[in-house]
């Protein structure tokens, strides 16, 4: 999100050579450097010091703990209407929060600030589905190697190793299951590339069979399990499934699938990741609850479902369920008409209003947004994006960090 133009990060920028297309192709990541993505990988990295790393690590750790408490409040205080979640879906999410915390494999926090003395603030948590994983795990190390940074052992570069460890812990917990994992999405290339990291980590952790299949080819059988149909009478069952399809999409766009997954999860017929409670964390609906529960925490931006609560200050309007800056609007204080608006696919959802945050920028008016991965709920990995615009969206550049 946008903000005041403050405290330049110019002194932190290190020019980096572009990752060559030949390497991207060999790594299966050519998509990140061609066509509309030709300028996606930034020609500079941001240098972070230990203080910056500590700030970001603490922010992710504290934000996760607060968001879990917010989810618990949703259940205890029946705040489901703040998420538009119908009664039919509440049982599964409640059960998931109580029983599936250990299945939260990966999510990505998006922060504002954090550098040059700008307070770090939580913008949102991509708790269920997320991007930037392939870039963070594969491309960032390549850039570091190209620029002679050999030391990549600190936590901000350990996303993949932590993914492997977390999948290993899941296998150790479910010794009564076949170590077979089905990964799925709706066929988007970027989602597929991010899922490939999940596949690789799962295989490294010990899953004996890891298969990718688009969602539409998966057979969900009530009372039986999750299958891939080989032919009319031949099926392969998978005891684990990882989806890059958000729970909110499933609930609102494919409610019959939601009911089937409810049946399979509640009857212990398949282990599905990320678990259903992450839907609450990913929704912007959690932000007003966070603001009410932790109004004095330095990480937390003021937020509300009522525009009037933010009207007296610059604020941002975001859809209850949205992604990549879609349908975001920016308002000046006491203005009812936005001065900036993104198109998108999520404008039909109710809106949440959030205090406008301060982002770092450089002398060329690029705004910088740091992100921290949470693997198993723990901070693990940093990446950044930047954009010469007022909002970070699909046109942002990926920025590596050096230490």
């Amino acid at each position: 999100m946008v903000v005041q133009h403050v405290r330049s990060v110019d002194n932190r920028l290190v020019p980096v050579t572009h990752v060559d297309e030949a390497w991207l192709k060999t790594a299966g990541l050519r998509w990140f450097g061609i066509g509309d993505n030709a300028d996606y990988l930034a020609d500079a990295a941001v240098r972070l010091d230990q203080s910056d790393l500590l700030t970001m690590r603490n922010a992710a750790r504290d934000a996760y703990d607060m968001l879990i408490k917010c989810c618990e409040a949703v259940v205890q205080q029946n705040l489901w209407n703040e998420f538009n979640i119908p009664a039919s879906a509440q049982r599964l999410i409640k059960w998931s929060l109580e029983n599936e915390r250990h299945l939260h494999v990966a999510g990505r926090f998006d922060f504002a600030g954090g550098l040059e003395g700008v307070p770090i603030k939580l913008l949102e948590f991509n708790a269920d589905t997320y991007s930037l994983l392939a870039e963070t795990v594969k491309i960032q190390p390549r850039l570091l190697n190209m620029h002679g940074q050999r030391n990549q052992h600190q936590w901000s570069y350990q996303t993949f190793d932590h993914l492997v460890a977390h999948f290993r812990s899941i296998l150790q917990r479910y010794t009564d299951r076949e170590p077979t994992l089905l990964v799925t999405d709706l066929g988007n290339t970027e989602d597929r590339l991010n899922l490939s990291i999940i596949e690789e980590a799962a295989q490294a952790a010990g899953f004996k069979k890891v298969t990718y299949m688009p969602l539409e080819k998966i057979v969900f059988s009530e009372g039986e399990g999750v299958f891939v149909e080989i032919s009319r009478d031949d099926f392969i069952q998978y005891d684990f499934m990882y989806k890059m399809v958000p729970w909110d999409f499933i609930l609102f766009e494919e409610p019959e699938l939601f009911d089937l997954l409810d049946n399979l999860i509640m009857n212990d017929l398949c282990v599905i990741m990320n678990p259903a409670f992450t839907m609450l964390m990913q929704s912007k609906g959690i932000l007003p609850i966070m603001a009410r529960m932790f109004p004095y925490d330095g990480l937390v931006l003021k937020a509300s479902a009522r525009k009037n609560d933010l009207a007296g200050q610059p604020h941002v309007c975001k859809p209850l369920y949205g992604r990549t800056g879609d349908n975001v609007q920016l308002f000046k204080a006491n203005e009812s008409v936005s001065y900036y608006e993104n198109d998108g696919d999520y404008g039909h959802f109710p809106m949440i209003y959030q205090e406008m945050a301060t982002l770092n920028e450089d002398s060329e008016m690029y705004i910088y947004q740091p992100s921290v991965y949470a693997i198993g709920g723990q901070p693990s990995g940093i990446c950044l994006r930047r954009q010469d615009d007022l909002v970070i969206d699909d046109d942002a550049e990926f920025v590596a960090h050096l230490t």
């Binding site: 709706l186 069979k209 688009p214 539409e216 057979v219 009319r232 009478d233 494919e254 992604r323």
Partner: protein, 175 residues
């Protein structure tokens, strides 16, 4: 779905669950869309021969009465022989359709799919066996005759064509 028999086979790290049952009572994959396809009622034992390193052609195809008895026999240049089941071939085909083609036996399955085995791997029965897929014209001629007979004895089935999420926008769901 009624599982009357389950056989686990561990081959090269791949666990296969071969389930004998029936799909039509399965209330899964809720799409209303269906398709009608021709499926063979007989099978084949296909022998493929490695003619160049990692390049195979069909040398022989012998019909068998039960599709489940179908096999692919691969003869390598070094004299080794491998045998694959229809289930393994179908799994490869499913994965290949999704862009996941990491099986080392991929070239064997691809070669076999250009002949009669292809009909059991999902290729349309209207497509005749490709002459270039065979080691010699005699093998191709025999298989062409077999294909004609297989089409005459094929059965029509109607099954779900797409499941959840089919036909949706393919924008990224990554935040």
């Amino acid at each position: 779905m009624d599982f009357s028999k389950i056989k686990n086979i561990l081959i090269g790290g791949v666990i296969l669950f071969v389930v004998v049952g029936f799909l039509k009572d399965c209330m899964c994959s809720s799409s209303e869309e269906t398709e009608t396809v021709e499926v063979p009622t007989e099978g084949t034992i296909t022998t493929v021969k490695e003619v160049e390193p990692d390049a195979f052609k069909i040398e022989d195809e012998t019909p068998v009465s039960n599709p489940d008895d179908s096999r692919i026999i691969a003869q390598y240049m070094n004299g080794n022989v491998d045998t694959f089941t229809l289930a393994e071939a179908r799994l490869y085909e499913e994965q290949a359709a999704s862009g996941n083609t990491t099986s080392p036996a991929g070239s064997i399955f691809r070669a076999a799919s250009f002949g009669l085995m292809g009909y059991m791997m999902g290729r349309s029965m209207a497509t005749p066996p490709a002459a270039s897929a065979y080691t010699n014209s005699g093998a191709h001629a025999r298989s062409t005759a077999s294909a004609t007979r297989m089409r005459s004895t094929a059965t029509s089935v109607t099954r779900p064509r797409s499941g959840f999420g089919g036909g949706r926008s393919t924008r990224s769901f990554g935040g």
